[in-house]
């Protein structure tokens, strides 16, 4: 197969199969390529039938689309994974400490470890949360940390998704599909299971319930914006697997200072709400008064400790791209340790020298909007035309505070199955993290997103990326 110049997770840089892939490759080489092609097509049918789709806004015909799935797994060894997990745990604990601090005493600002303006002028900072302590002091119950790899030991954190990270249903269904299609592979190769995630999620959410309900099991519900939301499949999937109700705003009402859902036998109190809806739309009284959706007074219940919202409102300040560049300082400040996982070097365009550097090296950098997500509004310098670069430079100069820039990392590749055999494609990885007062749990695996176009670095599903099953091997 054609080799890429960067680090390939199957072949390394020396064209010798790397350890984690050895057993897989000996199986693969004995397989009939035609059978595998057939399996690839079969997997798509399986996904379509189970209804795993995501909606793309503004596209009537393709209202529901499948995210392409590639049957070649991405494989990580137990020891590699251990390192990643330790790094994630450290990071997530620091983020929770940071969130508590920033909405209470703001020690980190007093110590001048990060500039005050980055908080006070940040729209992701939620003044309503000042002085509010969520049950168990947990802010980010569910986190999806986006990682990229550039070498054997080189992992970088690209983004900490601390609001409502999605994609976990793909992690689970990708594994389900692989188990169905290649049972023989899993009896030969010991892969750590991911199927415990829904149970772990329910246990973790329950452990964060307000202390008002000691006598009975807390009632957990998943809150979805509804069937037209792009991640609706995942919302219903998680509610289903946890065995809890999937509620919409129209099902909720405040009764006697608690949040309750309308059942066929009357209103029932909810203790923990795993909400998959933005802060802005939770409560028109406390947030956006122009919002058509939301439950008036929900935040008042929250403030008085009557319900757990997962994740807490206002966590966006921790995964904001402007804050991102300070995460190493944040880790050191709250844990007293050196960060175990690296940050991608970042130029904050709000700083004069940085802006000058970025403008000079625009064709070599990736420039992102501070509040953007999903790969929209971003510039990939090396792939841009001269005109695009000039246009972007103009945008940059007019509102520099809105942008950060990073070098284009040479992302690792993992092969995908193409019509002509294996061919390397760039990947990233989103492991899923559960946080409760008792523990931080990282499910062994995660969502591997893969750019299906040759040499493309954009792995976002909204822009033609696909997914792979991610295997963490048993020791």
């Amino acid at each position: 197969m054609p080799r890429s110049t960067n680090f390939d997770e199957m072949w390394g840089t020396e064209d010798v199969p790397r350890d984690p892939y050895r057993n897989f490759l000996s199986w693969f080489e004995k397989e009939d390529p035609k059978r595998l092609q057939k399996k690839q097509i079969e997997s798509e049918e399986l996904f379509r039938l189970t209804g795993i789709t995501f909606n793309v806004y503004g596209r009537e015909e393709a209202e529901e689309r499948l995210i392409p799935f590639d049957i070649i797994p991405r494989i990580v060894s137990a020891s590699e994974w251990q390192k990643v997990v330790r790094g994630i745990e450290q990071r997530v604990r620091a983020i929770n400490a940071f969130l508590h601090d920033i909405y209470h005493r703001q020690e980190i600002l007093r110590a001048k470890r990060i500039p005050e303006s980055i908080i006070s002028e940040n729209s992701a900072f939620l003044p309503q949360m000042i002085g509010v302590s969520p049950p168990g002091n947990i802010y980010t119950h569910i986190v999806g940390v986006d990682l990229v790899r550039t070498g054997h030991e080189e992992f970088y954190v690209l983004e900490d998704n601390a609001r409502t990270p999605s994609g976990v249903s793909y992690m689970l269904e990708n594994r389900e599909t692989m188990l169905q299609m290649f049972p023989e592979l899993f009896s030969q190769i010991k892969v750590q299971p991911v199927q415990t995630y829904p149970t772990d999620l329910l246990r973790s959410l329950s452990a964060c319930a307000p202390p008002l309900t000691p006598s009975h099991e807390p009632t957990v519900a998943v809150l979805t914006p509804g069937i037209y939301n792009s991640a609706y499949f995942e919302h219903s999937f998680l509610a289903d697997k946890m065995g809890v109700e999937l509620v919409e705003m129209q099902d909720l009402r405040i009764i006697d200072g608690r949040v309750a859902m309308r059942t066929i036998q009357g209103y029932k109190t909810i203790d923990v709400l795993y909400r998959r809806i933005d802060d802005d739309f939770l409560d028109p009284l406390n947030f956006r008064s122009d919002s058509q959706i939301g439950v008036a007074g929900l935040f008042d219940v929250y403030r008085s400790g009557g319900i757990t919202l997962a994740n807490a409102p206002g966590t966006g300040i921790a995964d904001d791209k402007a804050i991102y560049s300070y995460i190493p300082e944040i880790i050191e400040f709250y844990t007293g340790e050196r960060p175990l996982l690296k940050n991608v070097p970042t130029w904050r365009c709000v700083e004069k020298e940085s802006l000058a550097y970025v403008l000079d090296h625009l064709d070599k950098l990736v420039v992102k909007e501070v509040h953007g997500s999903g790969g929209y509004g971003m510039l990939i310098g090396p792939a841009a035309t001269k005109r695009e670069l000039a246009k972007f430079a103009k945008k940059l100069k007019s509102r520099p505070a809105n942008f950060i820039a990073q070098p284009t990392l040479s992302l690792s590749t993992v092969p995908i199955l193409t019509r002509t055999g294996l061919s390397p494609r760039h990947v990233d990885l989103r492991p899923f993290v559960l946080v409760s007062p008792r523990s931080v749990t990282v499910t062994p695996g995660g969502l591997t997103r893969v750019a299906l176009k040759k040499k493309s670095l954009v792995v976002n599903s909204s822009q033609g990326g696909g997914t792979k099953d991610t295997w963490v091997l048993e020791n």
Binding site: T50, G51, I227, A239, E245, L246, Q250, D251, M261, I264
Partner: protein
């Protein structure tokens, strides 16, 4: 269970039942058209009326033809009761109540949707219509089979059943009401045979031809047909059968309620209508009047169920 979930289940199964009934109606209409010596499109009017989509049809078409009637019933996006529209709505509701369904039921609903989304999106040539209708009925039957085979007998199942039987009872009552004039004793003397085509329409459109012959043999009298479709307790599409199923499920649902909600009292009244009457008293009262009252009571019941089980805020 959430009130909204109950609502979604109820409508999901109503729409599936409606799609299936419409498929059966179209097949019946096709058969009549093809077996008549002097073809006329009149029969399609009564079929449109039975499906309660006749007025809508006239808004979109100036003349009644077989092709456009079939199109309207089968795949029109302007007709909210077309098979296509019903399947889309059933699947929409299924998506909303996904957590209440087993994976098997969901996949079966999703499969009909995917099937209809490809096959009903374009014009269907006449020769392909029978196969298309069969495959729709098979696929709705698969959902019903999966529902029976995999769903727990709890309140979720109760709402599914109530939706199914309410729709079915309504459908059978409409079929009879549209045709009541041919079944009146004044038109056909009691005991005499009625127009071959007419009885076939009626029995076929509720898949009851075979069942009827098992019970009554080869002589088709108005009295027997009405008796069979109204009062027979073993005929799965008769009013008596559907009513008793709705009643059972409503009573299971409210078994733990200290006082039965109004919908329970209402189904008891409808149940009594079927149990206390025989074919003579119904003809005496007037078949049309009886059916009209029955249909109206079903409508009231449907609205009361929405209230009793908090479908809406």
């Amino acid at each position: 269970m959430l009130g909204r979930t109950a609502n979604g289940l109820y409508w999901m199964y109503r729409y599936l039942e409606r799609a299936e009934n419409t498929a059966r109606l179209i097949a019946t209409g096709q058969r009549i058209a093809l077996t008549r010596l002097h073809g006329s499109d009149d029969e399609w009017r009564s079929i449109l009326q039975t499906a309660a989509v006749s007025e809508g049809y006239d808004r979109y078409y100036s003349a009644l033809t077989r092709a456009s009637a079939i199109d309207w019933l089968l795949r029109s996006e302007n007709n909210p009761s077309s098979i296509y529209a019903c399947i889309v709505a059933a699947r929409q509701n299924a998506r909303m109540v996904r957590t209440a369904l087993t994976g098997e039921v969901w996949e079966a609903v999703n499969a009909i949707y995917m099937h209809c989304n490809t096959t009903l999106k374009r014009h269907i040539p006449e020769r392909d219509i029978p196969a298309s209708l069969i495959s729709i009925r098979q696929r709705t039957a698969l959902v019903r089979g999966m529902t029976h085979g995999t769903m727990l007998r709890n309140e979720i199942f109760d709402f599914a059943r109530i939706g199914t039987f309410l729709e079915r009872a309504d459908n059978t009552a409409r079929i009879l009401d549209v045709k009541y004039y041919v079944l009146l004793p004044s038109v056909t003397a009691v005991g005499s045979s009625i127009d071959n085509v007419q009885w076939e329409t009626i029995l076929r459109s509720v898949s009851a031809r075979g069942g009827f012959m098992m019970e009554y043999g080869n002589s088709f009298t108005a009295r027997d047909i009405v008796n069979f479709l109204l009062l027979d307790q073993r005929m799965p599409r008769s009013l008596a059968f559907c009513t008793s199923k709705i009643s059972d499920n409503l009573h299971y649902l409210t078994a733990s309620h200290p006082t039965p909600p109004p919908s329970c009292e209402q189904i008891d009244v409808i149940q009594k209508m079927c149990l206390d009457n025989n074919i003579s008293t119904i003809f005496e009262f007037g078949l049309h009047e009886f059916l009209q009252e029955y249909i109206a009571l079903l409508g009231v019941l449907s609205r009361q169920i929405e209230i009793d089980f908090r479908f809406y805020d």
